[in-house]
Amino acid sequence: MSDQLAAAWRMLPGALAGHVLLSACALLLGLAVSLPLAVLAARHAKVRWPALALASLVQTVPSLALLALFYPLLLAVSAVMRPLIGHGLPALGFLPSLLALTLYSMLPILRTGVAGLTGIDPAVLEAADGAGMTASQKLWRVQAPLAAPVVMAGVRTAAVWTIGAATLSTPVGQTSLGDYIFSGLQTENWVYVLFGCAASAILALTADQLLGLIEAGARRRDGRRMALGAAGLVIGVLACLAPAAAGQIGAPSRTYVIGAKNFSEQFTLAALIGERLEADGAAVSIKQGLGSAVIFRALASGGIDAYVDYSGTLWTNVLGRRDTPAPAVMLADLKRELMARHGVVMLGPLGFENAYVLAMESGRARALGVANIADLAPHAPDLTLGSDLEFLSRPEWTALKSAYGLSFRAERSYSPTFMYSALKDGQADVISAFSSDGRIAADGLTVLADPKHAIPSYDAVLLISPKRANDARLRRALAPLIGEIDVASMRQANLMVDRDQDKRTPAQAAALLESGLR
């Protein structure tokens, strides 16, 4: 527990800096767009309706989906811009997160801005005109100060929303306090989840209180209060950014960015690669929680420098192939095609596979005389299949069913943890597991062989981005991993992170793998 907490604290400066920078920029940009729009909307009813309707519409899109939508959008814009200005836009990380959160922050500011401006006593505006104010003098001397307390209430709401929603920028590759929540959810590390939630809640409350001070100042025409709130905000933002900025200045300019998908094995392998690079004196940052499709694009475009993927995934998702050649043939084809199409270097396989497999309790398998899936087929109508949430809708399952003529009595989906307990309780007789999952060994399960090779192989392979293709330090750090991590070591490392008792961090699991290398 205290190990987990210590590890969480170590991550805090980077995660907090990323979170604060993103939220502050999104809020400032949101203000810069929304306030003039509110003035325009308050003046012209023709602008008011569409502006408010559009801002409300944005609000109905779930924030995670909004963040996700900017990824393909920026890819498309980038493709258009590349021939025009010579380079594209980053579709991952800060930019898509900033744009999505800016849109998200607009509604409360716009709505309170319009309400604040249109709610002013018409007599006061008539007096301003009668006294000889121009439109802009009226705006700055009368309308703005009178609408300010109302608008500030909207800014507070926007700030709280933005800081909360910024945790969702982790899957698009932006470092934030969401890193704790997403990695914690995947590894069932509740200390991390709570730590991330608490940190983001404290940040949101602090920002809200400081903005509240400005709001109270505006309401009571108390300049000191407003200055105090504003100073608190500026100092707070700088204090959050300072440690990370100091780290940036001291670090070598060429930081290696290692990517990781959203599950324990990926976190552990990224930590292992990171440790090896740091031992060689390099600066490393790890972007974790990236989606399967997003991570390869990020590598190809140079957003990340290296990560571990699986041959079957690359084969179907990146190359778009549906056949299942022998593993060696698939690896050779992949190496050639990834280089030819994307300039991506496939350094080599790590030595273990993480494939979808069917598994049974060993005793049960022995009793039924089942050693492979072909043996299982005649028994299937009497058995129940337990799967994870996506297996039943994946092509691997379709391929297995048609290759072996599988038809189970029932098929049930579980979250991974409950899938293993279902097998133990007898609610399921066969489960879909990942071959490198530590719980296969821990629970004494038998993995059923796939003699017809219906499911492609999923060898873990190391990939390097085109711009780092000839980077000697990266190759030096990664080469010793090739062919050196067997499935037993990987299962043991995964179990350390996934088990409920005596849980360890991915970094500790990485240390175990490191000690197993020659």
Partner: protein
């Protein structure tokens, strides 16, 4: 003939694109130093006509000249800084102190701080408010006090012309009579030219040098109250007779008789 300070020439205004007119074909001349009361029932077009003078409303027809210059040829904001404007809604700026409210137009004109401070003190005295009222905020003042500040604000930049739209309409009768005669005294002392819209004939007769009677957007008659009483127009004559008849009935009632 000497050009009047305010001259309205065939003024027309429609709020529905020409289907009907709030004001139509009004000619009006106000000589320097005159206190003119614009009277008539509600919807007669008095306020609309008044606001064409400081361009709070732009006429569709005709021309307004101030001191011989067409107001349409001047920037609206600059024009208004030279014309005092007081209206029933008062419209004090709630986020400014009384002193800041009074200083609004001088600040727009770029007066020095010292000049502004001196002028604010002078005006508080002029409208009969204690000097320490300068630091108060409008929501702590009574209705009568608020309109005194409204008058001080309108007078701050020493405008030669004052436009007043039902300025005392929301006040109770005693304060109303008080403030009315106090303003009339200021008008004389400062040599102002005042156009005041009111629907109260008694107030108009008591305060105005001249009166202009409007009905359905037209100007029926204008002149000194005594001239209007002898008007050949039955509507004008009846209107002018009303205050005296009312006063006689009130007196009779109080003496216990019947009318």
């Amino acid at each position: 003939m000497v050009e009047p300070l305010i001259a309205l020439d065939r003024i027309g205004k429609s709020f529905d694109g020409g289907k009907s007119f709030a004001v139509r074909g009004v000619d009006l001349a106000v000589a320097r130093g005159t206190f003119l009361c614009l009277v008539g029932g509600s919807g007669a077009g008095k306020s609309t006509l008044l606001k064409t003078i400081n361009r709070l409303i732009e006429p569709d027809e005709g021309e307004v000249r101030l001191d011989g210059r067409s107001v349409a040829a001047q920037a609206a904001a600059e024009l208004r800084r030279g014309i005092g404007y007081v209206f029933q809604g008062v419209g004090l700026f709630p986020h400014m102190s009384v002193a800041e409210n009074i200083a609004v137009t001088p600040r727009l004109l770029g007066w020095t701080k010292a000049d502004i401070t001196a002028r604010v003190g002078e005006l508080l005295d002029l409208v009969g408010l204690p000097a320490d009222f300068g630091a108060r905020f409008p929501n702590f003042l009574s209705g009568g006090q608020q309109q005194r500040v409204g008058i001080a604000r309108a007078l701050a930049a020493r405008p030669p012309v004052m436009l007043m739209d039902e300025p005392f309409g929301a006040l109770d009768p005693l304060i109303r009579a008080d403030l009315g005669s106090a303003y009339r005294a200021l008008h004389d002392r400062l040599g102002l030219t005042t156009v005041m819209v009111t629907h109260d004939l008694q107030e108009a007769v008591l305060l105005g040098d001249r009166m202009a009677v409007m009905k359905d957007g037209r100007l029926l008659a204008q002149g000194e109250p005594a001239e209007l009483l002898a008007s050949s127009d039955p509507h004008v004559a009846a209107l002018m007779a009303a205050p005296r008849r009312m006063a006689e009935r009130v007196a009779a009632r109080l003496e216990g008789g019947h009318v």
